[in-house]
Protein backbone atom coordinates (compact mmCIF):
# COMPACT_ATOMS: atom_id res chain seq x y z
CA UNK A 1 0.00 0.00 0.00
CA UNK A 2 1.35 3.35 -1.07
CA UNK A 3 1.21 6.55 0.95
CA UNK A 4 -0.97 7.99 -1.82
CA UNK A 5 -3.55 5.42 -0.78
CA UNK A 6 -3.02 6.09 2.91
CA UNK A 7 -3.74 9.75 2.23
CA UNK A 8 -7.07 8.79 0.62
CA UNK A 9 -8.29 6.30 3.25
CA UNK A 10 -10.57 6.99 6.21
CA UNK A 11 -12.16 4.94 8.92
CA UNK A 12 -15.93 4.83 8.39
CA UNK A 13 -16.90 3.10 11.61
CA UNK A 14 -20.35 4.10 12.84
CA UNK A 15 -20.20 7.07 15.20
CA UNK A 16 -16.73 8.22 14.11
CA UNK A 17 -16.90 11.89 13.14
CA UNK A 18 -13.43 12.23 11.66
CA UNK A 19 -11.82 8.98 10.55
CA UNK A 20 -8.85 10.67 8.85
CA UNK A 21 -5.93 10.24 8.98
CA UNK A 22 -5.38 6.65 10.00
CA UNK A 23 -2.30 6.12 12.14
CA UNK A 24 0.18 3.65 10.68
CA UNK A 25 1.72 0.72 12.52
CA UNK A 26 4.47 -0.58 10.30
CA UNK A 27 5.83 -4.12 10.57
CA UNK A 28 7.31 -4.34 7.08
CA UNK A 29 8.03 -1.62 4.56
CA UNK A 30 9.22 -2.20 1.01
CA UNK A 31 10.38 0.14 -1.73
CA UNK A 32 9.59 -0.32 -5.39
CA UNK A 33 11.05 1.96 -7.99
CA UNK A 34 8.60 3.80 -10.27
CA UNK A 35 9.38 6.24 -13.08
CA UNK A 36 8.56 9.80 -12.12
CA UNK A 37 5.77 11.68 -13.84
CA UNK A 38 5.90 15.38 -12.86
CA UNK A 39 2.50 16.20 -14.33
CA UNK A 40 0.83 13.64 -12.10
CA UNK A 41 2.68 14.98 -9.06
CA UNK A 42 1.75 18.57 -9.89
CA UNK A 43 -1.91 17.64 -10.26
CA UNK A 44 -2.20 15.53 -7.15
CA UNK A 45 -0.20 17.90 -4.93
CA UNK A 46 -3.16 20.11 -3.98
CA UNK A 47 -5.23 17.04 -3.10
CA UNK A 48 -2.74 15.68 -0.58
CA UNK A 49 -3.28 16.42 3.12
CA UNK A 50 0.29 17.39 3.79
CA UNK A 51 0.76 16.95 7.54
CA UNK A 52 -0.63 13.40 7.64
CA UNK A 53 1.50 12.63 4.59
CA UNK A 54 4.69 13.82 6.27
CA UNK A 55 3.82 11.90 9.45
CA UNK A 56 3.07 8.75 7.50
CA UNK A 57 6.34 8.99 5.58
CA UNK A 58 8.24 9.40 8.85
CA UNK A 59 6.54 6.34 10.32
CA UNK A 60 7.76 4.39 7.30
CA UNK A 61 11.29 5.71 7.79
CA UNK A 62 11.46 8.62 5.35
CA UNK A 63 11.89 12.01 6.98
CA UNK A 64 13.15 14.22 4.15
CA UNK A 65 9.86 15.93 3.32
CA UNK A 66 9.48 19.60 4.28
CA UNK A 67 6.96 20.05 7.08
CA UNK A 68 6.19 23.75 6.97
CA UNK A 69 5.54 26.33 4.27
CA UNK A 70 4.67 23.83 1.65
CA UNK A 71 3.74 26.06 -1.27
CA UNK A 72 2.87 25.05 -4.83
CA UNK A 73 6.02 26.91 -5.92
CA UNK A 74 7.97 23.98 -4.47
CA UNK A 75 6.77 21.97 -7.46
CA UNK A 76 9.31 23.84 -9.59
CA UNK A 77 12.09 22.22 -7.61
CA UNK A 78 13.33 18.95 -9.01
CA UNK A 79 14.70 18.01 -5.62
CA UNK A 80 11.30 18.45 -4.00
CA UNK A 81 9.52 16.53 -6.75
CA UNK A 82 11.89 13.62 -6.38
CA UNK A 83 11.21 13.34 -2.66
CA UNK A 84 7.48 13.85 -3.08
CA UNK A 85 7.43 11.13 -5.76
CA UNK A 86 9.43 8.74 -3.62
CA UNK A 87 7.25 9.17 -0.52
CA UNK A 88 3.94 9.14 -2.40
CA UNK A 89 4.50 6.21 -4.76
CA UNK A 90 7.63 4.21 -4.02
CA UNK A 91 7.34 3.42 -0.31
CA UNK A 92 4.86 0.64 0.43
CA UNK A 93 3.43 -0.51 3.73
CA UNK A 94 3.62 -4.26 3.19
CA UNK A 95 2.66 -5.58 6.63
CA UNK A 96 1.17 -3.71 9.55
CA UNK A 97 -2.04 -1.93 10.46
CA UNK A 98 -3.97 1.28 10.01
CA UNK A 99 -5.49 2.59 13.22
CA UNK A 100 -8.75 4.54 13.44
CA UNK A 101 -7.89 7.92 15.04
CA UNK A 102 -11.04 7.98 17.18
CA UNK A 103 -11.72 4.39 18.22
CA UNK A 104 -8.27 2.81 18.02
CA UNK A 105 -9.74 -0.02 15.92
CA UNK A 106 -7.00 -1.60 13.82
CA UNK A 107 -7.40 -2.36 10.14
CA UNK A 108 -4.80 -4.96 9.22
CA UNK A 109 -2.54 -4.63 6.19
CA UNK A 110 -1.28 -7.93 4.81
CA UNK A 111 0.79 -8.35 1.67
CA UNK A 112 0.24 -4.67 1.03
CA UNK A 113 -3.55 -4.97 1.07
CA UNK A 114 -5.50 -3.03 3.70
CA UNK A 115 -8.57 -4.77 5.08
CA UNK A 116 -11.11 -2.02 5.68
CA UNK A 117 -14.08 -4.34 6.11
CA UNK A 118 -16.31 -3.42 9.02
CA UNK A 119 -18.01 -5.80 11.43
CA UNK A 120 -21.79 -5.78 11.54
CA UNK A 121 -21.96 -3.62 14.67
CA UNK A 122 -19.53 -1.09 13.17
CA UNK A 123 -21.67 -0.26 10.14
Amino acid sequence: MRLLTHNMLSSTIKGVSNGFPLTIEAAKVVEKQVDMNSDFLKNIFSKIEWKPFVEAAKTLGFSELPEEDVQPSLLDSHEFLTKFHHALLEIHLEEGALVCPETGRKFPVNKGIPNMLLLEDEV
Binding site: M8, F40, P114, N115, L118
Partner: protein, 253 residues
Protein backbone atom coordinates in the same frame (compact mmCIF):
# COMPACT_ATOMS: atom_id res chain seq x y z
CA UNK B 1 0.01 -2.89 -32.82
CA UNK B 2 -2.96 -4.59 -31.14
CA UNK B 3 -3.42 -3.35 -27.62
CA UNK B 4 -2.66 -5.65 -24.78
CA UNK B 5 -5.13 -7.02 -22.30
CA UNK B 6 -4.68 -9.51 -19.48
CA UNK B 7 -3.54 -12.97 -20.57
CA UNK B 8 -6.11 -15.42 -19.28
CA UNK B 9 -3.34 -17.95 -18.56
CA UNK B 10 -1.73 -15.48 -16.17
CA UNK B 11 -4.91 -14.68 -14.27
CA UNK B 12 -4.68 -16.15 -10.78
CA UNK B 13 -7.56 -18.19 -9.41
CA UNK B 14 -9.10 -19.43 -6.19
CA UNK B 15 -12.21 -21.56 -5.56
CA UNK B 16 -13.94 -18.63 -3.82
CA UNK B 17 -13.12 -16.04 -6.51
CA UNK B 18 -15.10 -15.30 -9.67
CA UNK B 19 -13.29 -16.48 -12.79
CA UNK B 20 -13.33 -14.20 -15.83
CA UNK B 21 -16.45 -15.04 -17.80
CA UNK B 22 -18.60 -13.59 -20.63
CA UNK B 23 -19.47 -10.56 -18.51
CA UNK B 24 -15.80 -9.84 -17.74
CA UNK B 25 -14.93 -10.20 -21.43
CA UNK B 26 -17.78 -7.90 -22.46
CA UNK B 27 -16.55 -5.21 -20.07
CA UNK B 28 -12.95 -5.48 -21.28
CA UNK B 29 -14.15 -5.39 -24.90
CA UNK B 30 -16.11 -2.24 -24.10
CA UNK B 31 -13.01 -0.62 -22.61
CA UNK B 32 -10.94 -1.72 -25.62
CA UNK B 33 -13.48 -0.30 -28.03
CA UNK B 34 -13.31 2.99 -26.14
CA UNK B 35 -9.56 2.90 -25.71
CA UNK B 36 -8.79 5.76 -28.09
CA UNK B 37 -11.24 7.97 -26.17
CA UNK B 38 -9.76 6.87 -22.87
CA UNK B 39 -6.27 7.81 -24.00
CA UNK B 40 -7.47 11.25 -25.11
CA UNK B 41 -9.33 11.58 -21.81
CA UNK B 42 -5.97 11.44 -19.98
CA UNK B 43 -7.28 9.95 -16.77
CA UNK B 44 -5.17 10.35 -13.71
CA UNK B 45 -6.95 8.06 -11.20
CA UNK B 46 -8.95 4.96 -12.19
CA UNK B 47 -10.92 2.67 -9.90
CA UNK B 48 -12.48 -0.75 -10.27
CA UNK B 49 -15.17 -1.72 -7.76
CA UNK B 50 -15.49 -5.51 -7.33
CA UNK B 51 -12.22 -6.53 -8.99
CA UNK B 52 -12.59 -10.31 -8.46
CA UNK B 53 -9.74 -12.07 -10.27
CA UNK B 54 -8.22 -8.76 -11.38
CA UNK B 55 -8.82 -9.51 -15.05
CA UNK B 56 -10.52 -6.18 -15.79
CA UNK B 57 -8.28 -3.76 -13.87
CA UNK B 58 -5.17 -5.53 -15.23
CA UNK B 59 -6.52 -5.25 -18.76
CA UNK B 60 -7.31 -1.57 -18.28
CA UNK B 61 -3.82 -0.87 -16.98
CA UNK B 62 -2.24 -2.78 -19.88
CA UNK B 63 -4.32 -1.15 -22.60
CA UNK B 64 -3.62 2.39 -21.32
CA UNK B 65 0.06 1.77 -20.82
CA UNK B 66 1.58 3.48 -23.82
CA UNK B 67 4.72 4.41 -22.01
CA UNK B 68 5.84 3.28 -18.59
CA UNK B 69 5.33 6.53 -16.70
CA UNK B 70 2.08 7.76 -18.16
CA UNK B 71 0.96 9.09 -14.77
CA UNK B 72 -2.19 6.96 -14.54
CA UNK B 73 -2.82 5.32 -11.18
CA UNK B 74 -5.22 2.50 -10.41
CA UNK B 75 -7.24 1.47 -7.39
CA UNK B 76 -9.24 -1.75 -7.05
CA UNK B 77 -11.61 -2.88 -4.31
CA UNK B 78 -13.46 -6.06 -3.51
CA UNK B 79 -15.48 -7.20 -0.53
CA UNK B 80 -14.04 -10.72 -0.80
CA UNK B 81 -10.63 -11.10 0.93
CA UNK B 82 -9.68 -13.96 -1.42
CA UNK B 83 -10.47 -11.80 -4.44
CA UNK B 84 -8.15 -8.96 -3.44
CA UNK B 85 -5.32 -11.44 -2.92
CA UNK B 86 -5.97 -12.99 -6.34
CA UNK B 87 -6.19 -9.56 -8.01
CA UNK B 88 -2.86 -8.66 -6.51
CA UNK B 89 -1.27 -11.80 -7.98
CA UNK B 90 -2.84 -11.23 -11.39
CA UNK B 91 -1.50 -7.66 -11.50
CA UNK B 92 1.97 -8.85 -10.52
CA UNK B 93 1.98 -11.59 -13.14
CA UNK B 94 1.39 -8.91 -15.78
CA UNK B 95 3.91 -6.44 -14.38
CA UNK B 96 1.35 -3.69 -13.69
CA UNK B 97 0.33 -2.06 -10.44
CA UNK B 98 -2.93 -1.13 -8.78
CA UNK B 99 -3.59 -0.30 -5.17
CA UNK B 100 -5.80 -3.16 -4.03
CA UNK B 101 -8.11 -2.80 -1.03
CA UNK B 102 -10.51 -5.08 0.78
CA UNK B 103 -13.67 -3.06 1.40
CA UNK B 104 -17.38 -2.75 0.82
CA UNK B 105 -17.74 -0.85 -2.49
CA UNK B 106 -15.44 2.13 -1.81
CA UNK B 107 -16.37 2.83 1.80
CA UNK B 108 -12.95 3.92 3.07
CA UNK B 109 -12.24 6.08 0.00
CA UNK B 110 -15.45 8.04 -0.39
CA UNK B 111 -14.44 11.08 1.64
CA UNK B 112 -10.95 11.78 0.43
CA UNK B 113 -11.25 10.49 -3.12
CA UNK B 114 -14.52 12.33 -3.80
CA UNK B 115 -14.42 14.12 -7.14
CA UNK B 116 -10.96 12.79 -8.02
CA UNK B 117 -11.60 9.62 -10.00
CA UNK B 118 -11.60 9.95 -13.78
CA UNK B 119 -12.61 6.39 -14.65
CA UNK B 120 -14.72 3.96 -12.61
CA UNK B 121 -15.33 0.43 -13.95
CA UNK B 122 -17.74 -2.06 -12.44
CA UNK B 123 -18.86 -5.58 -13.22
CA UNK B 124 -21.22 -5.92 -10.26
CA UNK B 125 -23.00 -8.92 -8.79
CA UNK B 126 -26.01 -8.65 -11.11
CA UNK B 127 -27.94 -11.92 -10.92
CA UNK B 128 -31.48 -11.63 -9.51
CA UNK B 129 -31.54 -13.69 -6.29
CA UNK B 130 -33.40 -13.75 -3.00
CA UNK B 131 -32.35 -10.71 -0.99
CA UNK B 132 -30.78 -12.77 1.80
CA UNK B 133 -28.11 -14.16 -0.57
CA UNK B 134 -26.65 -10.67 -0.97
CA UNK B 135 -23.86 -10.11 1.51
CA UNK B 136 -23.23 -13.79 2.14
CA UNK B 137 -19.64 -13.25 1.10
CA UNK B 138 -17.27 -15.55 -0.76
CA UNK B 139 -18.15 -16.65 -4.26
CA UNK B 140 -21.87 -15.97 -3.66
CA UNK B 141 -21.09 -12.25 -3.42
CA UNK B 142 -19.77 -12.36 -6.97
CA UNK B 143 -23.22 -12.88 -8.46
CA UNK B 144 -25.95 -12.45 -5.83
CA UNK B 145 -27.74 -9.23 -6.72
CA UNK B 146 -31.03 -9.42 -4.83
CA UNK B 147 -34.26 -8.18 -6.39
CA UNK B 148 -33.79 -7.55 -10.13
CA UNK B 149 -30.08 -8.04 -9.43
CA UNK B 150 -30.06 -4.43 -8.32
CA UNK B 151 -29.19 -4.48 -4.61
CA UNK B 152 -25.48 -3.85 -4.99
CA UNK B 153 -25.77 -1.85 -8.23
CA UNK B 154 -28.12 0.62 -6.55
CA UNK B 155 -25.58 1.13 -3.76
CA UNK B 156 -22.70 1.56 -6.20
CA UNK B 157 -24.25 4.28 -8.38
CA UNK B 158 -24.37 7.05 -5.73
CA UNK B 159 -20.81 6.16 -4.69
CA UNK B 160 -19.59 6.37 -8.28
CA UNK B 161 -21.33 9.73 -8.61
CA UNK B 162 -19.54 10.98 -5.52
CA UNK B 163 -16.12 9.73 -6.60
CA UNK B 164 -16.17 10.78 -10.24
CA UNK B 165 -14.35 13.95 -11.23
CA UNK B 166 -16.01 16.59 -13.38
CA UNK B 167 -14.75 14.83 -16.49
CA UNK B 168 -15.23 11.36 -15.00
CA UNK B 169 -16.61 8.33 -16.83
CA UNK B 170 -18.31 5.25 -15.41
CA UNK B 171 -18.40 1.93 -17.26
CA UNK B 172 -20.88 -0.54 -15.83
CA UNK B 173 -21.86 -4.00 -16.94
CA UNK B 174 -25.53 -4.88 -16.54
CA UNK B 175 -27.93 -7.66 -17.33
CA UNK B 176 -31.23 -7.02 -19.11
CA UNK B 177 -32.99 -8.06 -15.88
CA UNK B 178 -31.30 -5.14 -14.08
CA UNK B 179 -33.47 -2.74 -16.16
CA UNK B 180 -30.64 -0.79 -17.77
CA UNK B 181 -33.07 1.87 -19.01
CA UNK B 182 -34.13 2.59 -15.49
CA UNK B 183 -30.47 2.81 -14.43
CA UNK B 184 -29.83 5.36 -17.16
CA UNK B 185 -32.85 7.29 -15.92
CA UNK B 186 -31.55 7.24 -12.36
CA UNK B 187 -28.19 8.54 -13.47
CA UNK B 188 -29.84 11.07 -15.77
CA UNK B 189 -31.43 12.61 -12.70
CA UNK B 190 -27.95 12.93 -11.20
CA UNK B 191 -26.84 14.80 -14.33
CA UNK B 192 -25.33 12.01 -16.40
CA UNK B 193 -25.75 11.15 -20.03
CA UNK B 194 -25.34 7.52 -20.96
CA UNK B 195 -24.80 5.20 -23.85
CA UNK B 196 -24.74 1.47 -24.32
CA UNK B 197 -21.36 0.75 -25.85
CA UNK B 198 -21.53 -3.03 -25.94
CA UNK B 199 -24.58 -5.25 -26.20
CA UNK B 200 -24.15 -8.98 -26.23
CA UNK B 201 -26.43 -11.97 -25.93
CA UNK B 202 -25.07 -15.29 -24.83
CA UNK B 203 -27.09 -18.47 -24.45
CA UNK B 204 -28.00 -17.58 -20.90
CA UNK B 205 -27.87 -13.83 -20.61
CA UNK B 206 -28.21 -10.54 -22.37
CA UNK B 207 -25.41 -8.22 -21.29
CA UNK B 208 -24.93 -4.48 -21.74
CA UNK B 209 -22.03 -2.23 -20.95
CA UNK B 210 -23.25 1.28 -20.23
CA UNK B 211 -20.97 4.27 -20.24
CA UNK B 212 -22.02 7.27 -18.14
CA UNK B 213 -20.56 10.75 -18.21
CA UNK B 214 -21.56 14.07 -16.66
CA UNK B 215 -23.60 16.14 -19.02
CA UNK B 216 -24.49 19.63 -17.81
CA UNK B 217 -27.33 19.76 -20.36
CA UNK B 218 -29.16 16.78 -18.99
CA UNK B 219 -29.25 18.33 -15.54
CA UNK B 220 -30.73 21.54 -16.90
CA UNK B 221 -33.21 19.69 -19.08
CA UNK B 222 -34.39 17.56 -16.19
CA UNK B 223 -34.98 20.60 -14.02
CA UNK B 224 -36.79 22.45 -16.78
CA UNK B 225 -38.93 19.51 -17.73
CA UNK B 226 -39.83 18.80 -14.14
CA UNK B 227 -40.79 22.44 -13.64
CA UNK B 228 -42.85 22.56 -16.84
CA UNK B 229 -44.68 19.35 -16.51
CA UNK B 230 -44.26 18.32 -12.93
CA UNK B 231 -44.01 14.83 -14.26
CA UNK B 232 -40.62 13.15 -14.18
CA UNK B 233 -41.82 9.99 -15.91
CA UNK B 234 -42.37 11.78 -19.19
CA UNK B 235 -38.81 13.02 -19.10
CA UNK B 236 -37.66 9.55 -18.45
CA UNK B 237 -39.45 7.96 -21.37
CA UNK B 238 -38.30 10.65 -23.75
CA UNK B 239 -34.76 10.14 -22.61
CA UNK B 240 -34.95 6.39 -23.03
CA UNK B 241 -35.62 6.75 -26.72
CA UNK B 242 -32.64 9.04 -27.13
CA UNK B 243 -30.27 6.96 -25.16
CA UNK B 244 -31.02 3.74 -26.89
CA UNK B 245 -30.49 5.00 -30.40
CA UNK B 246 -27.12 3.24 -30.59
CA UNK B 247 -26.98 -0.52 -30.85
CA UNK B 248 -24.65 -3.39 -31.47
CA UNK B 249 -21.01 -3.32 -30.67
CA UNK B 250 -18.55 -0.61 -30.12
CA UNK B 251 -19.04 2.85 -31.38
CA UNK B 252 -17.19 5.86 -30.09
CA UNK B 253 -18.69 7.59 -27.04
Amino acid sequence: MPSKIADIRLVASHPEVYEPCDDSFALVDALLSDRANLLKHQPSLCLEIGCGSGYVITSLALMLEQETNNGIHYFATDINPDAVAVTSETLKAHGVHAEVMNMDIASGLEDRLAGLVDVVVVNPPYVPTPEDEVGQGGIVASWAGGEDGRSVIDRILPVADKLLSEKGWLYMLTLAANKPLELCGLMRRKGYASKIIVQRSTEEESLHVIKFWRDPDSEVQIKKAAANRGNPTSVFSRFSLLSFSGNGNASSK
